[in-house]
C-alpha cells in the first residue's frame, strides 16, 4: 500500500507500523513527534500503531528557531 511520509509517497507492506517507519528512517529513540491525518500519534503507541493506505504522515523534530 502507499502512504505519504513528510510529503513523499512511500510503498510499504500491509500492517506496517509506526515503529517500523521510525526505524526505517533511523529515528528510533530520537526526540520526534508524529502526526497521522492531522492526529497526534503518541510515541508510546508506535509499536502497535498500524498505518492504512493513503495515510498522510508527518514526522517532526526540533530545529533552531527564534
Amino acid at each position: 500500500m502507499e502512504i505519504s511520509v513528510n510529503g513523499e509517497n512511500k510503498q510499504v507492506p500491509d500492517g506496517y507500523t509506526a515503529a517500523q517507519l521510525v526505524d526505517a528512517m533511523g529515528l528510533t529513540g530520537g526526540r520526534i513527534a508524529m502526526e497521522v491525518n492531522l492526529e497526534i500519534v503518541p510515541r508510546s503507541t508506535y509499536d502497535s500503531y498500524t498505518f492504512n493506505a493513503g495515510d498522510k504522515i508527518e514526522i517532526v523534530h526540533a530545529v533552531g528557531g527564534g
Binding site: V5, N6, G7, E8, K10, M25, G26, L27, G30, R31, I32, A33, M34, E35, L38, I40, P42, R43, E58, I59, V60, H61, A62, V63, G64, G65, G66
Partner: protein, 264 residues
C-alpha cells in the same frame, strides 16, 4: 544608605526565572555555537522551531536538543512559519508530543512575508483554541494595546509585542506603544523581535518590559557569543535602571558641582 531595590523573579505560567533574557536558537553556524551563545546569554528559556525530519537524513546529525538540553533549559517551541491558526495549533500539538507533554509554547501567526508582521486575527483565533486545550501560550503580536489586552483576556501567560520587524535589528520603533502595553497588562510583557544591539535591549527593559526575546541580534553578530554576553548585561542594566527610576528630563543644564564657594 539607600537599600538596593530587590528585584522579583520573572514568573511565567507559575514558574520563576532569574534571567529576563529569552533567546532563540536559529541562524547559528552550528550546534556548538548555539550552545556557547545560549550559555553566555544566561537565558533560561530558549525557543526552537518544529520541522520535518527528512527521509534519508543523516541519523548521526547532531540533535539541537543535545546542545540545549530540556533538562537545563525551558524549551519554548514556536509556530514560526505558520500563516493560519490551524497550522499554528497543529504545530503546538506536535511540539507538546515532542517535548513529552510540555505545554509552554510561543504562538506566532504571520500575515505578511515581507514584514513578517503578525496576523492578529488568526493569532487571536489560535490563542483561544490553544488556551482551551490547556496550552500555556506566550504570544507574539503587534504593538497594539487593544489586541494585547484581548490576548491577555483570552488567557495567554505572556504577551510579546514586536519592537520592529523580525530579524530587522531596527530597535524599539515605538516606545510609547510598548509602554502603553506594559502599563495596562497584568501578565508579563516581553519585547519579541526587532532588537539589534545591546542598547535596544536596555531601552526595552527601561520601558518596564518584563523581559526581551531575541535571536538574530545575537546569532547574526560578528561574534555571537560576545554579543550574547553583552545582551545579558544590557538586560540587567536596563532592568536596574527601570527599578531605580530615571531622573526627569530637563531642557536646560543643571550644574552638578556646587555654585557656592567659587573663588573666581
Amino acid at each position: 544608605m539607600t537599600q538596593v531595590k530587590q528585584d522579583t523573579p520573572l514568573v511565567i505560567a507559575g514558574r520563576e526565572y532569574t534571567s529576563r533574557l529569552l533567546v532563540g536558537s536559529g541562524k547559528y553556524k552550528d550546534n556548538e555555537e548555539t550552545r556557547l551563545a545560549t550559555e553566555a546569554s544566561g537565558a533560561e528559556i530558549v525557543t526552537v522551531a518544529i520541522r520535518r525530519s527528512n527521509i534519508g537524513q543523516n541519523p548521526d546529525e547532531p540533535n539541537l536538543l543535545d546542545a540545549i538540553p530540556p533538562e537545563k533549559y525551558t524549551i519554548l517551541p514556536n509556530t514560526a512559519g505558520c500563516y493560519t491558526a490551524k497550522d499554528a495549533v497543529r504545530t503546538c500539538k506536535l511540539a507538546r508530543e515532542l517535548l513529552d507533554g510540555h505545554d509552554l509554547v510561543k504562538l506566532e501567526v504571520l500575515g505578511d512575508e515581507k514584514t513578517l508582521f503578525p496576523d492578529v486575527i488568526q493569532t487571536l483565533k489560535a490563542a483561544e483554541e490553544l488556551v482551551k486545550d490547556g496550552f500555556k501560550v506566550m504570544v507574539y503580536t503587534s504593538d497594539d494595546l487593544l489586541i494585547a489586552k484581548e490576548l491577555e483576556d483570552i488567557g495567554c501567560v505572556a504577551v510579546m509585542p514586536l519592537a520592529a520587524p523580525i530579524g530587522s535589528g531596527l530597535g524599539i520603533r515605538n516606545p510609547y506603544n510598548i509602554r502603553f502595553i506594559v502599563e495596562e497588562l497584568k501578565v508579563p510583557v516581553l519585547v519579541d523581535a526587532g532588537v539589534g544591539t545591546a542598547s535596544d535591549a536596555a531601552v526595552a527593559m527601561e520601558l518596564g518590559c518584563d523581559g526581551v526575546l531575541m535571536n538574530t541580534a545575537i546569532a547574526a553578530a560578528q561574534n555571537p557569543v560576545l554579543m550574547a554576553s553583552a545582551m545579558k548585561k544590557a538586560i540587567e542594566a536596563g532592568r536596574e535602571a527601570y527599578l531605580a527610576g530615571r531622573m526627569p528630563r530637563k531642557r536646560y543644564a543643571n550644574a552638578s558641582s556646587p555654585l557656592d564657594g567659587t573663588f573666581f
